[in-house]
C-alpha cells in the first residue's frame, strides 16, 4: 500500500488543529464585534491596531456591561486586499458568529465586505474607506459609512480652501479610480466656489515614487494651490519632494491625516492644508477621548479613521441596548434601521445623525499644518482654518443614486 496509515493520521491530526471547522452556532447572549483592518500593511498607522483599541474602549465606555450585555471584540488583518477582506468577513459571519463588522479598510475591501454583509444580513459600520459609492450606487440596508468620504474631503478642502484665498489649483492625480474621483470632485467644488483649475498631471499608479517632475510642472503653472489627489506613500512622497524643491504653492493633501504628518515631520509639512472630521485637540470632548485612549495606546494619537470606529461601536451598542441583543443579532437590516432612528452623540464627532442612505453626518474641518515654532510638541500639528457644517459637509442624498432612497 502506498502511504502508511500512520503517516496519514499524523498529518491529519496536525492539520486539523489549524483547519477551520464548522461549529454549531453558539446560543449565548454575547455580541461579537469584528474589527477588520490593515494591521501590518500600508495603512497600519492610519487605521490598524489603534482602531482596534478604540473599539475596545467604546465597549467599556458604552456601559452595556452593566445592562447584562457581553461584548467580545476580535480583529483581523485584511492586508488591503478585497479578496482577503471578503473571505474574513464571510468566515466571521458563517463560522465565528460575528454580529457586526467595523473599520473595514480600503474602498475595495469595504465594497466587497458590504456585499458579503448584505448577503448574510449582518451589520457593517465602516470607517476606513473613502469611496462615496458606499452611500451611492453601492449602498445597502446593512451598511453605514462613518467618518468621511471623498465628497466630504473634496468639499472641505476644495470649497473651504477657495474661501480662504486659494483660488487657483493644479492637481497631481494618482492614475486610478480613487485619484480621478478625488480630482474631479475637488475641481468641481473649486470652480463652484469661484476658483479656477489651471491644469493637472496624472501619475502612474502604483509605482511612482518620484514626483519631482510633476511638482515642477505644477509650479510652472503658477497655481496657488497644488491639490494632491492621491494618498498613502504617493502623498507623503509628494509632500517630501515639494519641500525639497522649495515649491512655493500651498499643498492641499486630499487624503492626508495626522499619522502622515507625524511620519514626515512637521517641518516638512508646514503649511500643508488637509481635511479631517476629527482632531484630538479640537475641543474638550475630543481631548477627553484622546486622553482616555492614550492610557490604552500611548504611542500615537488617533486619525479620524481610527476614532471613527469608537463612535460607530458606541452607537451600535446604544441600539443594542434599545432593541435587545437577540433582535440585533438575528437581523442586521433591522439593527441598522434602529441605528438610523437614534441621533448620534459621542466625544469623537459630537452630535450627528445617520441618513436613510447609510451616511453618518457630522461637521468637517479644514486644517493647516503648523509651523514648527507654533507647535508645542508631538501631535500638536493643526491650526483650524475652516468648518463645513454637517448639513453641507456630505453629498445631498438625492444626488447619490442610492437605491434605498426614494427620490
Amino acid at each position: 500500500m502506498g502511504i502508511s496509515r500512520r503517516a496519514l493520521l499524523a498529518t491529519a491530526a496536525t492539520a486539523a488543529t489549524a483547519l477551520p471547522v464548522v461549529r454549531a452556532r453558539a446560543q449565548k447572549q454575547t455580541l461579537k464585534i469584528g474589527v477588520l483592518t490593515d494591521i501590518s500593511g500600508l495603512y497600519q498607522d492610519i487605521v490598524g491596531p489603534l482602531a482596534v483599541e478604540a473599539v475596545r474602549m467604546a465597549v467599556v465606555d458604552s456601559g452595556v456591561a452593566a445592562r447584562g450585555i457581553d461584548v467580545e471584540v476580535i480583529a483581523a488583518d485584511h492586508q488591503n486586499k478585497a479578496d482577503i477582506g471578503s473571505n474574513i468577513a464571510r468566515q466571521w459571519y458563517d463560522r465565528d458568529g460575528v454580529d457586526m463588522i467595523t473599520e473595514g479598510g480600503s474602498s475595495a475591501v469595504a465594497l466587497a465586505v458590504a456585499g458579503v454583509s448584505r448577503d448574510k444580513n449582518k451589520a457593517y459600520l465602516t470607517s476606513g474607506p473613502a469611496t462615496s459609492d458606499l452611500t451611492g450606487p453601492a449602498c445597502n440596508a446593512v451598511t453605514i459609512h462613518w467618518t468621511y468620504d471623498t465628497y466630504m474631503l473634496a468639499r472641505s478642502t476644495g470649497g473651504a480652501m477657495v474661501k480662504a484665498g486659494g483660488n487657483s489649483w493644479y492637481f497631481i492625480t494618482a492614475d486610478y479610480a480613487f485619484g480621478h474621483a478625488l480630482a474631479r470632485d475637488t475641481g468641481a467644488f473649486v470652480e463652484q466656489a469661484g476658483g479656477k483649475v489651471l491644469g493637472g498631471a496624472r501619475t502612474p499608479f502604483p509605482g511612482t515614487s518620484d514626483f519631482s517632475a510633476f511638482l515642477l510642472q505644477a509650479q510652472a503653472s503658477g497655481a496657488k494651490v497644488i491639490g494632491l489627489a492621491n494618498a498613502g506613500t504617493d502623498a507623503t512622497n509628494c509632500i517630501k519632494q515639494a519641500r525639497e524643491f522649495g515649491i512655493k504653492a500651498t499643498l492641499a493633501g486630499m487624503l492626508v491625516v495626522i499619522s502622515d504628518i507625524h511620519s514626515l515631520g512637521i517641518d516638512v509639512c508646514q503649511g500643508l492644508v488637509l481635511t479631517e472630521s476629527f482632531y484630538w485637540d479640537l475641543n474638550p470632548r475630543t481631548r477627553a477621548f484622546a486622553e482616555r485612549l492614550r492610557v490604552r495606546y500611548p504611542s500615537r494619537r488617533p486619525t479620524m479613521q481610527q476614532a471613527g470606529p469608537y463612535s460607530a461601536t458606541m452607537h451600535y451598542l446604544k441600539a443594542a441596548a434599545e432593541l435587545g441583543v437577540a433582535r440585533i443579532k438575528s437581523d442586521g437590516a433591522a439593527a441598522i434601521a434602529e441605528l438610523k432612528k437614534i441621533p448620534t452623540d459621542d466625544d469623537v464627532f459630537g452630535p450627528g445623525l445617520i441618513r436613510p442612505d447609510g451616511r453618518k453626518i457630522h461637521p468637517s474641518y479644514l486644517f493647516q499644518v503648523k509651523k514648527p515654532s507654533e507647535s508645542k510638541g508631538p501631535w500638536d500639528y493643526y491650526n483650524l482654518l475652516g468648518i463645513t457644517p454637517a448639513e453641507e459637509a456630505f453629498r445631498p442624498m438625492a444626488l447619490g443614486n442610492c437605491p434605498l432612497v426614494k427620490v
Binding site: 502511504i3 492539520a15 464548522v22 483581523a76 479578496d83 468566515q91 474602498s107 475595495a108 479610480a177
Partner: protein, 310 residues
C-alpha cells in the same frame, strides 16, 4: 486505472474520499479555495515538473482567467460553466503569447522573462477599465449551472469545484502518460537528442505551456465564481510566488504534491492571518527551509521514504 501505479491509485482514491467527506467537517469555502489553488499548482507543476520550465509569472494566467470569468458572468450573464471556459480560453491565449516569447530561453532566463511579462500584464490590468482597477470586479454572480442548477449554496458550488478540479487533475495525468508525455520526458532528459530525432521541441514545450496556462486560467475563473470577486491580487507577482511555494512545499514533479501543498499552505495562511506580516515572514521561512533541506517537498519525501512515485 489510467496509468496510475498501485500506490498512486490508492492515493488518488484516498484524495477523492477526502474531498467527498471534508465538507461535513471543514468550512466548504476554505475547501473550495484549496481545490482552486491545487488546480493552479497542478498546472504550474506540469510545466516545471515534467518540462523543467519554471514560470515566475503564472499569476498572469490565473488572474486573467479570474477577470474574464468574473466579467463574463457579471456583465454578459454567462452561465458558470461557460464563464469558466472563457477564463480558461483567455488564459490559454495569453499563455500562447507569453510562451512564444519565453520558450526561446530556458532556466533562469525563462523565469525572468515570464516574470517581467506577467508584471507588464499586471500594470496593464491596473489601467484597464474592465478589471475595475483597485476595486476589482465585485459581486460576481455564481449563476445557474447549465442554466438550471443554482450554485448559490456553498455545497452546490463545492460539487462543481470538485468536478472542475478532478477533471483538470486527470487531464494533466492523461497528458503525462500519453505519447505526447513521453516526448516531453525525452525533451527533459536530453533535448539535443530529441531534436536530433526530429522532434520540434519548441513546439512541444509551447503546447505544454499553453495547456498549463489554460488550466491556470480555469483555476482562476473558478476561484472568482466561488468568492464573487476578481482583483489585482490575482495577477500580481506575490500570487506567482504563492503557487511556486505550494508546488515546492508539496513536491515539484510529483502528481499529488500540488494538492497536498495547497492544503497545507492555505491552512497555514488561514491560521496565521490574524498575525499580519508574520504571514510574509513565514512564507519566506518555508521557502528557505524547503530549498535548503526539504527539496523534495512533502509528497516527494513520503514517496522517497517508501520508494514509490507519487
Amino acid at each position: 486505472m489510467m496509468g496510475f501505479s498501485r500506490p498512486q491509485n490508492g492515493a488518488f482514491w484516498l484524495m477523492v474520499a477526502v474531498i467527498a467527506i471534508a465538507p461535513a467537517i471543514l468550512y466548504p469555502v476554505f475547501l473550495m479555495k484549496v481545490l482552486c489553488f491545487a488546480l493552479f499548482a497542478c498546472a504550474f507543476n506540469l510545466l516545471i515538473g515534467f518540462v523543467g520550465l519554471g514560470s515566475f509569472g503564472h499569476a498572469a494566467f490565473f488572474g486573467m482567467g479570474a477577470y474574464v470569468t468574473a466579467y463574463s458572468a457579471k456583465a454578459w450573464g454567462f452561465t458558470p460553466e461557460l464563464a469558466i471556459l472563457a477564463g480558461g480560453l483567455v488564459g490559454g491565449a495569453l499563455g500562447l503569447a507569453f510562451g512564444w516569447l519565453a520558450i526561446r530561453r530556458q532556466g533562469i532566463y525563462f523565469a525572468m522573462i515570464t516574470l517581467a511579462l506577467a508584471q507588464m500584464n499586471y500594470f496593464l490590468c491596473t489601467q484597464a477599465d474592465f478589471t475595475g482597477g483597485e476595486d476589482g470586479i465585485q459581486g460576481v454572480p455564481r449563476g445557474d449551472l447549465f442554466g438550471l442548477i443554482s450554485l448559490k449554496s456553498d455545497l452546490a458550488m463545492y460539487a462543481v469545484v470538485t468536478v472542475v478540479f478532478l477533471a483538470g487533475f486527470l487531464l494533466i495525468h492523461r497528458i503525462v502518460h500519453s505519447p505526447f508525455g513521453q516526448v516531453l520526458k525525452a525533451i527533459r532528459e536530453n533535448e539535443p537528442r530529441a531534436i536530433s530525432l526530429g522532434y520540434r521541441t519548441d513546439d512541444y514545450k509551447l503546447m505544454v505551456f499553453v495547456i498549463s496556462a489554460a488550466l491556470a486560467g480555469i483555476a482562476g475563473g473558478t476561484k472568482s465564481l466561488v468568492f464573487g470577486i476578481a482583483t489585482l491580487t490575482d495577477v500580481n507577482f506575490p500570487m506567482s510566488g504563492e503557487v511556486i511555494l505550494i508546488a515546492l512545499l508539496g513536491g515539484m514533479g510529483t502528481i499529488f504534491g500540488p494538492v497536498v501543498g495547497a492544503a497545507v499552505l492555505i491552512a497555514l495562511e488561514n491560521y496565521l492571518a490574524p498575525f499580519g506580516a508574520w504571514v510574509t515572514v513565514t512564507q519566506g521561512v518555508v521557502f528557505v527551509v524547503c530549498v535548503m533541506a526539504f527539496r523534495r517537498g512533502i509528497v516527494g519525501e513520503i514517496a522517497a521514504r517508501f520508494r514509490i512515485a507519487l
